[in-house]
C-alpha cells in the first residue's frame, strides 16, 4: 500500500467535490489509481481521454505510484 495525494482539476474537481485527497492505494500502476478514483467519485471520463502526471511531470499510465507522490489526472485542456 502506498499513500499518495490525488489532485483534481476543472470538471474532475467539481465531480470529486475536493481539489485533492490523500489515499492509500494497492494499485500496481497509475491506471489502477485512476480506476479506484473513478469508482469512488463516479467520474465519467474514460481513462483514454485523460493524461496523468506524477510529482509535477507527465507520467505514463503504467508507471508505479510512488509513496508520498502527488498524482494528477489531466482532462482535455482548454487554455488560450
Amino acid at each position: 500500500m502506498a499513500d499518495v495525494t490525488l489532485l483534481y482539476f476543472a470538471s474532475l474537481r467539481e465531480r470529486a467535490g475536493v481539489d485533492s485527497e490523500t489515499v492509500s492505494t494497492a494499485a500496481a500502476d497509475l491506471a489502477g489509481v485512476y480506476d479506484e478514483a473513478q469508482a469512488r467519485h463516479g467520474f465519467s471520463w474514460p481513462r483514454g481521454h485523460l493524461r496523468v502526471a506524477m510529482d509535477g511531470e507527465f507520467a505514463r499510465w503504467d508507471d508505479v505510484p510512488k509513496a508520498g507522490s502527488e498524482i494528477a489526472f489531466i482532462p482535455p485542456v482548454s487554455g488560450g
Partner: protein
C-alpha cells in the same frame, strides 16, 4: 526572464512587450486571446481559468524552448491569466522578436497552438442564461 507565466492579475501588455524588445530584432509578432461574448452559439458573460500551476509552468517553458530551437527567434514569451475574467479581458498573450518576420510569425503561432493543446489550463464558461461549463475539448475538436 521567465518564458511562460501564469498570472492572477490583468496582463500588462506594455511591460510584457518590453521583455522581448531587442536592438537586433527587425520583426515582432504577437498574439492576444480575448474573452469573446459567444462560443458555440451561446452568449457568454465571462469565464474562469484554472491551471495545474506546477505542470503548466513547466510545460509552458518547454513550449517556449521548442519554439526557440525550431525557429530563428531572438526572444519569446507567453503569459496566461488564471482566475475570473470578463468579456474583452486578455486571457493569453504571446510575443516573439526575431531578425526576420517569418520566424517571428511561425514561432508565435507555434507557441499559442502548443499552449492550447498541451498546457494544463482549463476554461469554465459562464453563459448568459445562468449556467456554466468546463470546456474539455477532445483533441480532434480543440
Amino acid at each position: 526572464m521567465a518564458g511562460f507565466l501564469l498570472s492572477d492579475l490583468p496582463l500588462d501588455i506594455a511591460s510584457l512587450r518590453a521583455q522581448v524588445l531587442d536592438r537586433r530584432a527587425g520583426g515582432y509578432a504577437s498574439f492576444e486571446g480575448w474573452v469573446r461574448d459567444h462560443h458555440a452559439g451561446r452568449a457568454v458573460d465571462g469565464l474562469d481559468y484554472e491551471a495545474y500551476a506546477t505542470l503548466a509552468e513547466r510545460e509552458g517553458e518547454r513550449v517556449i524552448a521548442e519554439a526557440k530551437a525550431r525557429f530563428d527567434v531572438i526572444e519569446a514569451c507567453c503569459a496566461h491569466r488564471v482566475g475570473t475574467l470578463a468579456i474583452g479581458d486578455l486571457a493569453v498573450w504571446v510575443g516573439v522578436s526575431a531578425a526576420h518576420r517569418g520566424a517571428a510569425f511561425d514561432a508565435c503561432r507555434y507557441i499559442i497552438d502548443e499552449t492550447k493543446r498541451r498546457v494544463p489550463i482549463w476554461k469554465r464558461e459562464h453563459y448568459r442564461e445562468g449556467d456554466a461549463d468546463w470546456l474539455h475539448p477532445m483533441a480532434e475538436e480543440a
